[in-house]
Symmetry: C2
Subunit: 423 residues, 2 copies
């Protein structure tokens, strides 16, 4: 089945916002095994939207439109789509009630006449409830030029479209597929993208069902494993041998096989299982590592305090780094990273610690210590490990990479500690 | 003049990458005063690319294609575009030499037969040198169905397309415009989007030249002021009265009129001007505020150390928050924010401080202290100010908003201090 995406909104045409909805929908459709050959963006203009929709409906089975469902006169997606399917708009009582409830909930806002426009739906459309806003989603199916076509209309805000897609549209599309689509997201850390691709190039070459698609993220590589099968059991039978093979090749570098799990969550979870706490001592990342850890709900069980020690004196004062170390080998060095990690663990009374010190750029680099040089230290109980990294991005990228490498190092040391306990 | 964007690449259709090139090109075209009504994405497929390009050339004056200029057989953008303009491909010696030089430079890679494909250019095309890769940019102009049309072909990697656009394509497009386009980006903090829009709705209503376009960012509103004029002096004459009017309405809420300046940079700059240092004490933002400040190059002059105090005990131990305060009014309270800010300033020996304590969610909210309640404290020398905020996003959004509000508060207090000095 062929699907096509149309994003409606002047703010995308102006480059005001990046079209993350299209990337989200495209990835979801790919994971459902739907083929997608075209994406387009068009403004809230009746003639142009009509033309764009007609072209999409002529060449694809399902067209997903996002945006243009707002309450103002500018918003035309529903009107234009209804016309394409030759349907009239009529008031939907259920949606009207939901809009009323939504406004009752948020108190502060008053319903305007405009808002009731959102309760109008094309005749025969499936109405999909919006739990995060007032514009319902709509699914319209009908014959156009002798072929059955479907249009799916979704609200534009990411906070509305994503939960709606997950809850109702994904199951709907999945049901339209002759076979079910099942997938794992195999997430790998501590190995570069090209090495991952080389390691599995034979698997990618001979892939059929399941398929394997690599996705590079900052410091991580994700492999989406997708099988088409009658049911989950049959899909799992197809995927388990490949999963086993991937584990044989990547071992503990695989930190999860679930789409929704993040690297920091697996780290927080490991700490939690062991009943351990962690602290952080950051120089060049300046709080971003702690920020990532604390973004995991429930982090308060494993994280109590952390230190941002940007200046040399702060490293001495807060972490007890020795002045000789700083004057002999400098703040960006293996020794300083080691003393930062040890000092932080002691001062915080934590069971583990991670330290980061480096030159993020754009200035501060020398021939011996170039921009991108970063040392990361990690203590788990009394085991200390320090690693040297050379990143090649700009200031922001270098710091993002350092954060992911720090989480990866902490994870490795926690796993090592855990396996030591078991033996 | 009407411009249209075509992004070529299967990885965008699969949702493997977000189409940031389109957003970049769209914003650049908008700032050049070019109208853009359509964007599309298509894979490396000859028939579909041919059709998509034909449609774009039929309705727009200039079509910018990005991607599909690589050395492999899959890459077809050049071939398809040459056909549309009825041009043959021929080898370009200059480009051949540049490819040779590029490979000489990076040593590690060997030239393959494929690479020479990138030296083929359509007859009569303007060749645009690529300083960050091997595929040159190309500009093709010619008559199609009796009208003059232009296709601009650019490489896909953001690290190649952006410097190439800035260096050669922007000036080319600017030269094609009958008048020059000049703009200011008026950036506003501390006022919500809807209030900004209401305040300037009369200006937007009657806008002609210059135009005003609002862009909402997290916690900030940006107004792009664009004038068409013969030269910069004439453009400034048109824009200055509007700028004066905007300053009259928003005053010090405007933190810059320059595109490239960020809020944190203006804050770091204020501290730097006053010769002051700042520290941070963060609970729910867990290091993100410090991370933003330290992301400004040269932040080491104004920031030495900071504290992440997630647990109550850490607030007592590191910042000297009184146990009575925590037990009487709790960690998320005006008093705790005040004691955190004062304590941090003292402990760090800094001239200013910002503290953040709140409930980011998803758990931990109560009826009295709901998710999204955040207190931000700010000390500048001996002046203390605490503000209460109610955010309504998810955990991540609430923390991002808190960071921007904290920077805004610090900026306001620094301005107040500075004006007190002057009087």
């Amino acid at each position: 089945m062929i699907v096509e995406l149309i994003s409606v909104g002047t703010e995308i045409l102006l480059g005001n916002i990046v079209n993350t909805n299209a990337a989200y929908l495209a990835e979801q459709c790919a994971s459902l095994g739907l083929s997608c050959y075209h994406q387009s963006v068009v403004g809230d203009n009746e003639a142009r939207l009509t033309e764009t929709l007609a072209l999409a409906l002529s060449r694809s089975d399902i067209v997903i439109l996002s945006g243009g469902l707002g309450p103002t006169g500018d918003d035309l997606t529903k009107e234009v789509t209804a016309k394409a399917f030759k349907r009239k708009l009529k008031e939907d009582l259920h949606t009207k009630e939901r809009i009323q409830e939504y406004f009752d909930q948020i108190h502060s806002k008053k319903i305007t006449e405009n808002n009731w426009k959102q309760a109008l739906v094309p005749e025969g459309a499936i109405v999909v409830d919006n739990y995060n806003g007032t514009a319902p989603g709509l699914i319209l199916t009908g014959e156009i030029d002798g072929e059955e076509k479907t249009a799916i209309l979704l609200p534009g805000p990411p906070g509305e479209i994503r939960p709606m897609f997950e809850r109702d549209i994904y199951p709907y599309l999945s049901g339209r597929q002759p076979e079910g689509i099942y997938s794992y997201m195999v997430k790998i850390c501590g190995i570069g993208e090209s090495q991952v691709e080389t390691t599995i190039s034979d698997l990618i070459q001979k892939q059929e069902n399941p398929t394997i698609a690599p996705y590079a993220k900052i410091g991580e590589v994700h492999l989406r494993l997708t099988a088409r099968a009658e049911d989950e059991v049959a899909a799992d039978a197809l995927m388990q041998p490949v999963l086993t093979e991937l584990y044989a090749r990547f071992g503990e570098h695989i930190f999860t096989t679930k789409e929704e799990i993040t690297l920091e969550e697996t780290v927080v979870d490991l700490l939690w299982q062991e009943g351990m706490t962690v602290t952080t001592a950051e120089s060049c990342t300046g709080g971003l590592l702690a920020g990532r850890i604390i973004n995991v709900p429930g982090a308060s069980d494993i994280y109590r305090e952390g230190y941002i020690t940007y200046a040399d004196e702060a490293k001495e004062k807060l972490l007890g780094v020795r002045p000789e170390t700083l004057s002999n080998v400098g703040a960006v060095s293996e020794d300083t990273a080691a003393e930062m990690a040890r000092g932080a663990m002691e001062k915080a009374g934590a069971d583990a610690s991670v330290s980061v010190t480096g030159i993020a750029g754009p200035d501060g680099g020398t021939k011996e210590k170039p921009v991108g040089l970063v040392y990361i230290g990690c203590c788990v109980k009394h085991n200390l490990r320090v690693e040297e990294f050379h990143f090649t991005g700009n200031r922001e990228k270098n710091r993002d990479y350092a954060v992911v490498r720090a989480l990866t190092l902490l994870r490795e040391e926690l796993l090592k500690y855990k396996s030591g306990e078991e033996t």
